[in-house]
């Protein structure tokens, strides 16, 4: 479930990266690559788990599935937080710089 949610996040962020022209300005590539990197790593994890459990891997207990979904959503939230911080540090429109100099 975590893998599935991360793959969806990767696909959606890639679609947005492809569609919008200001992709460099807002570090959209970073968001895509972060989710794709995690998706690839969890794919490896899933393959090893499948090798160990066999078909049982596809029939997890309901409680495990809920926990994994909760984890997946938290992972996406963390990824978005990391990306937001990177955009705020880059400050492409100078909004933060402007706000800081105005408050002085």
């Amino acid at each position: 479930m975590t893998l599935l949610i991360t793959v969806f996040a990767a696909v959606i962020s890639t679609f947005i990266w492809y569609k919008k022209d200001d992709r460099k300005e807002y570090n959209r590539g970073f968001l895509c690559l972060m989710f794709w990197g995690a998706s690839l790593m969890w794919t490896v994890d899933a393959v090893f788990e499948y090798a160990e459990l066999g078909a049982e891997y596809f029939t997890p207990a309901f409680e495990d599935m809920i926990n994994d979904a909760y984890l997946g959503i938290s992972v996406v939230a963390l990824g978005l937080i990391i990306w937001t911080v990177s955009v705020l540090i880059k400050d492409p429109k100078g909004v933060i710089r402007g706000a800081l100099t105005q408050s002085r």
Binding site: T2, T6, G29, F30, L33, M34, F35, W36, G37, A38, S39, L40, M41, W42, T43, V44, D45, F48, L71, S74, V75, L78, G79, I82
Partner: protein
């Protein structure tokens, strides 16, 4: 247990390599600044340091999100020695997992990046030849 440490270690190395490459590319750009044509052709191509940045982003991002997952499952703790496997005396199991799952993760991410670099190289060559044709 701690499989994310393998791609994270690779990320440290590739980030260092990227920094060195970036400096070299900057120096090369400055030394050839008298030949404007040369610069124009260099700008048309994506520098290797930029391409290495793609790998870094995948490795750092993936490792960070996986580290969070390990924290979630209690395999990583925010106090020394940080890894539950070390506290429980399961170091050999942890190393076995790192050498199997961790290494495969690093290889897969690097292989995908290699494919991305190869594809971008082909696209750049095609653009070059089409520009020459015009």
């Amino acid at each position: 247990m701690a499989c994310f440490l393998v791609p994270a270690t690779e990320a440290v190395i590739t980030t260092a390599v990227q920094m060195v490459m970036k400096n070299k590319e900057k120096k090369a750009d400055l030394s050839s600044s008298h030949a404007t044509e040369k610069i124009e052709s260099a700008n048309a191509k994506t520098g290797f340091s930029v391409k290495l940045g793609w790998l870094n982003k995948m490795l750092w991002g993936g490792s960070a999100l996986l580290a969070f997952e390990h924290l979630w499952h209690g395999e990583v703790v925010p106090y020394f020695p940080f890894l539950t496997a070390v506290t429980n005396g399961e170091v050999s199991d942890m190393l076995a997992e790192m050498s199997s799952v961790g290494v495969t993760m690093a290889i897969l991410v690097t292989a995908i990046w290699g494919a991305m670099v190869a594809i971008s190289g082909v696209i750049e060559k095609r653009t070059e030849t089409s520009e020459e044709g015009v």
